[in-house]
Symmetry: C2
Subunit: 467 residues, 2 copies
Amino acid sequence: MDRTKIAQLYADAETLGGQQVTVAGWVKSVRDMKNFGFVTLNDGSCFKDLQVVMNREALANYDEIAHQNVSAALICTGELKLTPDAPQPFELAATQIAVEGVSAPDYPLQKKRATVEFLRTQQHLRPRTNLFRAVFRVRSVAAAAIHRFFQDRGFVYVNTPIITASDCEGAGEMFHVTTIDPANPPLDDKGNVDFSQDFFGTAASLTVSGQLNAENFAMAFGDVYTFGPTFRAENSNTTRHAAEFWMIEPEIAFADLADDMDLAEDMLKYVIRDVMDRCPDELAMLNKFVDKGLIERLTHVANSDFARVTYTDAVKILEDAVAAGHQFDYPVSWGIDLQTEHERFLTEEHFKCPTFVTDYPAEIKAFYMRLNDDGKTVAAADCLVPGIGEIIGGSQREERLEVLERRIAELGMDPEQYKYYLDLRRYGTCKHAGFGLGFERLVMYLTGVGNIRDVLPHPRTVGSCDF
Amino acid sequence: MDRTKIAQLYADAETLGGQQVTVAGWVKSVRDMKNFGFVTLNDGSCFKDLQVVMNREALANYDEIAHQNVSAALICTGELKLTPDAPQPFELAATQIAVEGVSAPDYPLQKKRATVEFLRTQQHLRPRTNLFRAVFRVRSVAAAAIHRFFQDRGFVYVNTPIITASDCEGAGEMFHVTTIDPANPPLDDKGNVDFSQDFFGTAASLTVSGQLNAENFAMAFGDVYTFGPTFRAENSNTTRHAAEFWMIEPEIAFADLADDMDLAEDMLKYVIRDVMDRCPDELAMLNKFVDKGLIERLTHVANSDFARVTYTDAVKILEDAVAAGHQFDYPVSWGIDLQTEHERFLTEEHFKCPTFVTDYPAEIKAFYMRLNDDGKTVAAADCLVPGIGEIIGGSQREERLEVLERRIAELGMDPEQYKYYLDLRRYGTCKHAGFGLGFERLVMYLTGVGNIRDVLPHPRTVGSCDF
């Protein structure tokens, strides 16, 4: 079938005006005025619809078309008429409309506005609504922008493994991956479950991060990134947590924490600008119906220098705010893990722009972060953004073998588990750094959507694995 | 640190010649000639190395550098001298070399050539070898090319879920995803394992394909694609099977099998051309040391029209070959599933180019493939390529509700499990098609590497989940 996509009509209206075109898409609405009528058609190629005008005289099956339900699939042929005086730049004067697929009368998403909660029960159909059409286009464009950003800079994309046998600290929050039947597990001679008989010959889990694997590749390629799914078996039912989500984790060699922050800032600005450039219709819709400050906020962030403040100074700022009468739910003192309310105060009220908080106490950060010369803080940098709080967590990695070994011992971790990781420090170690960006958090930020369930095609959360 | 990457030196040699530059990288070899010496340095930014020349007079720590081991990390500063008469276009005349990280004398990958089998035990270090440097760069470039191919054509990238509760036919080959402790599983009142108490409130597995989910999005966006990990718990220890691998699955609306094949052919040619364009040094190395026919084969495929033959005609060709004396291990007759030996005969000896075999018997293909008018074949198309066999499996999907329902009933499948999938046929169904490309198979094809374990950063196969 020689059809033209609606995106193409909008891109080439000047050329295509006056021409015969065939457009295939789905009905958003039909208005029948007896002898003429209008079909609003969308084919998914862009956010905008096409208005199809039908005339009883010109169209043999006028009544058939006039009775189509929302979401019926139609193939429409006719002249593309430019309409400089109408709200839309053109319309299709149909001379032929074929019904490719009817839509049953019980179609669940009729014209009336459905709640996002109801739409979560219709995940197979919700991409057909304006809201999800916008969200999932932005998601796709943002993903492509991230790949382009890193590839253009010579980074190597690494598919770090999803299934892992490394146990790590967070084991309690990991999903087991197994072919063992829990009704009848193989047992060893002590009566324990014998994982040596499991598929991989050992207990295995779903990864929580590709970072340690990415470091293997950064020590060969210099600059690498991952972009893949990660998992948390956390029993937390919030608007910001999903059991399955995508992460971007760049890792850069011969680089320190300042380089890492520069990279994160450049990347965020690049993605925001690219989405603003490629998705103006989607953002306009989201700005109107989801978050009235969205476009202003994105524009501001794309053009701001991000603030940088140490954790120690950030705590002072928060303490001063408390002294000046500001109330937080959680008390503030040096050593605490910053809460979302603290993060949002810093980025929204104090700095009024995206803010890197750096050099956190070692106690509240991961074992692989580089110990600062003060002996009590580490070279970490979290990026906080207005409206959402933490969006990126990064650090310079501990590249000194003896410091890392000491830290692993202090934390009571098993050095044998980290043999390969320590090998990187034995054979040509170098200053290096990286960060993790939760992709769904970014999409929420780019769209103004407040619930992570609405930026994931088919969200997996505690108690929910439908579709 | 203001450093220049080696890729930049090669790109801008004219401009940078005669300038002071700083380069950071890892030692591939050191040759000490007493008063002068050479360090071959690679920083991962490109396949090519940099020759660093050091002179005892110019370099205070000459002896320290001369004694560095393979893989030590160095930061070298000096003048970039163009050497028009030498094999390499320039060298760095070092005035300062700092040791960023020594490499211990027991570094496992010394200069002598290691076997790929040994290197599989050194997955954290093997990206530093020429072979894996080439393979994993090609892998990254191919992944980026795939994204660019689809994005440039307006496809929406969809992250279909990794964890799934849909049981499907292939349940026996799926990994369970659970937080249940097999040593102490919760039981229901009949004594069976109670998966309603598992994390998702139901039994869950790792996905084997995103296709059914992708169709949800194709019915909204028209053209979509997935690119993510998929899993098989098959107990097969071959050079072509991994438990975890990446798949690309485009799905296109208002399209038939011919459109699907056009898309697959365009995509393969695009990726091959892009990799040839961006990775000439990597391919030259692979062509020299791994597969001497590689570049010729890729060039041929990028410039051939792919053959198209029905399964029925393909079987006749094979039967004719048998009649003419060709021996196959597996007998040939209409109705068989083609074996790799048959596929390779068709593409390598008969057609001598990539070949789509279409319209397979319904019995040997999946339930969702569109039934042809003959009532016994389906609109499937597998793409066979010389040297590897099947690389793509695609089909037009059954879009007719009643035909699909009948097929599901015939196969004894539970229609309730496919409610959402059937809904797509109830509400605006349309002709549509798609295919699956195993990404590792493609990387094997692009690199000539014969074992899937050597194109995966950290392969997961039966009995093996290291690193």
